[in-house]
């Protein structure tokens, strides 16, 4: 009987606790040095998202003080903004898992993923950069649903993500690797779910320091200036198509561009350069530059 009291029911649960370093073999140029202007490929965006991106001026982040220390949201954070720490919160009395917590280097962001079955708050509850997250087990995969995210980016060339979006993650640990498949559903800017994946490697020796963002006059401009392009006036939108030999329409994104069938559609109009000249090699932070080979 005593042994029965001590017996722990078997759950198909996984401990994600640990120090995790991001791997960049997927979408390296976008996630590291950053996406090029006008590259909306493989994003299921609508006309509203396209206009927001077309009118975006990246100088905004330096000129507008409120943008300098504006964190990326929980969804973009999982693209590997920096080193990640995950730990569990266990209720002392019941020994049940209450939550997972994450700490990300970038902006010292922390997130709680509630595992105790609590509901999400009503739609009008305050929104935050990390949102409100709950998790459920699907076998040994953790499925996390996050709502109440503040407005942020899908891609760092201005493609927006609204505060109505629902962010779903599927965490899968296999040994020392963590694969996170993410799904963003945004009724304001997306016509279909955006599915991406990112991988992390366990790094027990990593030391996450303090980010500690500091406001400063990076690029002084008159007070109240908000860099932007008026609709139709962004002169840089065709660069990307030219560099990579793509038809301009393909760079404008849309759900169609996510699927392999689209390659057949543009086969006659796609003329890649004879020799790679931009981001020819990009697998890590240290080899992903314009002229990397």
């Amino acid at each position: 009987m005593f042994a029965a009291l001590l017996a722990v029911p078997a759950f198909a649960q996984v401990d994600f606790t640990g120090e995790w370093a991001p791997l960049y073999h997927e979408d390296g140029p976008e996630r590291l040095p950053g996406p090029e202007l006008g590259d909306y490929t493989e994003l299921p965006i609508n006309a509203a998202a396209r206009m927001a991106a077309d009118t975006y001026d990246a100088d905004r982040i330096s000129v507008v003080p409120e943008y300098q220390c504006r964190p990326h949201g929980a969804d973009y954070s999982m693209r590997g903004l920096g080193n990640l720490r995950i730990w569990q919160e266990i209720d002392q009395n019941s020994q049940k898992l209450i939550a997972f917590h994450t700490h990300m280097l970038a902006w010292d962001s922390e997130r709680t993923i509630w595992m105790d079955g609590r509901p999400h708050p009503p739609a009008y509850a305050p929104h935050t950069w990390q949102g409100f997250s709950t998790g459920v087990w699907d076998g040994n995969m953790l499925t996390i649903t996050t709502t109440h995210l503040k407005v942020n980016y899908l891609r760092r060339n201005g493609v927006p993500r609204s505060d109505k979006a629902i962010f779903t993650e599927h965490w899968m640990r296999h040994g020392d690797y963590l694969t996170v498949v993410t799904v963003i559903e945004d009724p304001v800017y997306l016509t279909e779910p955006l599915v991406r994946s990112d991988n992390w490697s366990l790094d027990p020796g990593q030391n996450i320091g303090i980010f500690g963002c500091e406001y400063a006059p990076e690029v002084p401009r008159p007070e109240g200036t908000v860099p932007a392009h008026l609709p139709g006036n962004n002169p840089y939108l065709r660069e990307f198509a030219g560099w990579y030999g793509l038809p301009y329409e393909a760079t404008r994104g849309g759900a169609e561009t996510m699927y392999p069938e689209y390659m057949k559609k543009i086969a006659g109009e796609y003329h890649p350069p004879a020799k790679c000249s931009r981001y020819c090699k990009c697998t890590s932070l240290f080899d992903c530059n314009l002229n990397s080979k």
């Binding site: 990246a58 100088d59 590997g80 280097l105 201005g158 500091e214």
Partner: protein, 134 residues
């Protein structure tokens, strides 16, 4: 003794290699002409050693000879410290020569640092940095 020194060396190397400060504040391609370079030669007026990015502000003439205040984006504090750059490395008044990628808006007079050199003077040693701002 040798074992102790070896242990300390390994521990120190581990500390350096695990402090990987990786983050992605903004897209450099969206902010700068990455396939162009510009060189300015002037006087450092301010050195902001910080996160998300350090900045140096330099008074230097533009290509028309008109004095401008250039905003030169550098690495985050963590990146610079790993390269041996501290907030004391440069001082207002230093003569500096900077090369980098020009910003897309010419009115900003903005540069992404590729290299900075302070020639040696009677009161300051030569300073050189060359690298990739991440």
């Amino acid at each position: 003794m040798k074992r102790t020194l070896l242990f300390l060396a390994i521990a120190a190397a581990s500390l350096l290699t695990t402090q990987v400060k990786v983050y992605a504040h903004h897209s450099f391609a969206a902010t700068y002409f990455e396939d162009k370079t510009i060189t300015i030669d002037g006087t450092l007026r301010q050195f902001l050693y910080r996160n998300p990015h350090s900045f140096v502000h330099v008074e230097a003439p533009d290509d028309k000879g008109v004095m401008q205040t250039w905003a030169v984006e550098w690495g985050a504090g963590g990146q610079l410290s790993r390269d041996g750059v501290t907030r004391e490395s440069l001082k207002p008044g230093d003569h500096v020569i900077i090369t980098g990628n020009p910003g897309r808006d010419p009115e900003d007079h903005r540069i992404r640092m590729q290299s900075i050199k302070r020639p040696a003077t009677a009161t300051a040693a030569e300073f050189n940095w060359k690298g990739v701002v991440r």
